[in-house]
């Protein structure tokens, strides 16, 4: 285990962090404002990845296909989630967490099988576009995929956009207010229903975007929702419910624990991120940063 190896592994962990952050920030938004612990969030991520595969194939799989997939897949997920919010979730905001947790788990089972029906059980791969093919040498000469560099650029951009949305726009301000006191917000004459719907759709859109971004780096397959959703949930809890920066911090800890763990102890590498969550929650039971509720 030398310095270049550690550095390389750290970069791998950082590119994983970006994906985890994008997905878990969407989840955190929904959990913080709407108080829905959405297990189906991982399924939306899976739909995003499969849609990216289909769209990229429609446009010939090249450069154009990639960019269209990056725009199209999250939009499809957003439309699905808008439909789900208007038809089902808007009636459930007052239900107990346990019910919502199991209901969204039921949705994740349904979506899982629908994806199996539509796309089949085979592995799918989405080609990396020409621009991002190949490797760049890192310090120490180890090759690092250009696509992962692209991911590293995407992460901060999305974090800043989200921050602007939550803190600087009217809808973000209303959503934050509604997270604290729903009744008061509707009492002053704001249509809370549509604010909630938009927050739900934006959160789900992020899940779809995460799926579309991750698609070229992994094999797109059934079951990719189940591993991710637990990770995203733990990140959200670790960071503090509803806190975007908490999600970023949590994703960073989780991603790095994952990549470094493999380096430290290959056989039991997968236990490190879980251990990290436990340590964090032991010392800060309500998460690292301030939760919205």
């Amino acid at each position: 285990m030398d310095a270049t190896g550690i550095l390389n592994q750290a970069f791998v962990g950082l590119s994983r962090t970006v994906i985890l952050f994008i997905v878990s920030s969407g989840m955190s938004l929904i959990l913080g404002v709407l108080r829905i612990p959405n297990i189906a969030h991982g399924s939306l991520y899976m739909i995003g990845a499969f849609m990216a595969f289909t769209i990229s194939r429609i446009f010939g799989g090249g450069e154009l296909g990639f960019w269209m997939a990056l725009i199209g897949a999250p939009l499809v997920v957003a439309i699905i989630s808008l439909f789900a919010e208007r038809s089902i979730f808007q009636y459930l905001y007052e239900r107990e967490h346990l019910m919502l947790l199991l209901l969204t788990f039921a949705f994740s089972l349904i979506i899982g099988d629908l994806v199996k029906i539509i796309w089949g059980g085979d592995y799918k791969s989405v080609p990396v576009p020409q621009t991002f093919q190949g490797f760049v040498p890192l310090i120490g000469g180890l090759p690092f995929p250009i696509y992962n560099l692209f991911l590293l650029v995407c992460g901060p951009i999305i974090a800043i956009l989200l921050w602007l949305l939550v803190n600087k726009t009217k809808i973000g301000k209303i959503a934050r207010a509604a997270a604290v006191d729903r009744e008061m917000v509707s009492a002053v004459g704001i249509n809370v229903g549509w604010v909630f719907a938009s927050v739900f759709v934006i959160g789900c859109l992020l899940a779809g975007l995460g799926g579309a971004l991750v698609a070229p780096t992994v094999s797109v397959t059934l079951g990719m929702d189940h591993t991710l959703i637990m990770e995203a949930f733990l990140i959200v809890i670790m960071g503090g419910l509803g806190n975007i920066w908490g999600a970023l911090l949590g994703a960073l800890i989780f991603g790095l624990a994952q990549s470094m763990g493999i380096l430290i102890w290959p056989q039991f590498g997968i236990i490190f991120p879980y251990a990290a969550v436990i340590i964090v929650l032991l010392f800060r039971p309500a998460g690292l940063l301030k939760a919205t509720w």
Binding site: A106, L109, D113, I237, L281, P285, A286
Partner: protein, 318 residues
Amino acid sequence: MATGILSGKGRIWWIAALVVLCLVPLVLPRFYVYMLSIILLFGLLATSNDFPLGFGGIYQLHHAVFYGVGAYATAIVITKSGLSPWLAFLIGPIISAALGLVMGLICIRLSKLYFGMLQISLGSLVWAVVFRWYSFTGGDDGIHGIVVPDIISSYQGAYYFTLVVTGLSLYVMYRILKSPYGSVLQGIRDNPVRSAMIGVDVKRHQLLALIIAGFFAGIAGVLFVVVDNTVFPDMLFWTLSMETTIMCLLGGWLTFLGPMLGAAVLILVRTFVSTYTVYWGLALGIISGLVIFFMPNGVLGWLQDLFKHKTNLAEAKE
């Protein structure tokens, strides 16, 4: 709450049900007897999940980990040591209860969703260890061909063993819930703040509930080893915990027999659906979605409400 299930007019039905359950292996073919054993042990698992969840108000979201650890402990003791399998059947649940204590001590400071999430995190850690520790747990293959004592190695023997152990376990759990301790636990569920105010040590009572739940989940794990002779890492995966929680909710998580009913329904539907299609998840998702949406208290809870409503109407008329 289940009311008076072991007394009065109800008793005759219980004896009848027990007689039927005892006679079943004599008439039904092997597959159905096996399925009935699975229903019983999953019913026990779901009931033990409901013990802290429905009666203690604790978000026991990763219950399968105690089930899996109990089964693994039993399997490992049988295959790796020279101890008697009967002793292994005791060691499994004890280790599960110990795990319940350890995880409970770590999680109990948190409440509701945070508790559940920390439990899932710890459970995932245990799962990861089991999944990767090839030399000790068999890794992702699990352990197969576990030898159990001759008397319970046939499918009928395994069934009778499961029936007796499940029946006893359910009875013990029922007695615990009817005891002063059970009343305190339900008091904590209904109003933790008030319970603390009148001098109840809330955390200690909840911790005990977690240990009891872990113990009975371990027994369910032992029964699975007896019935199926295998263990595998999916027994500890969080999706199974979600399924047992759905069983509780489906049957009625505030009733004592609800989880057993939920387990029976779920496993019967699974077996039935699986013969026609591979899309079992779709069926489970739709069923549980409808139940949660329209009957948040489960089938048994719904029936109870209906019954109460009718008696109220009758009283109102008089």
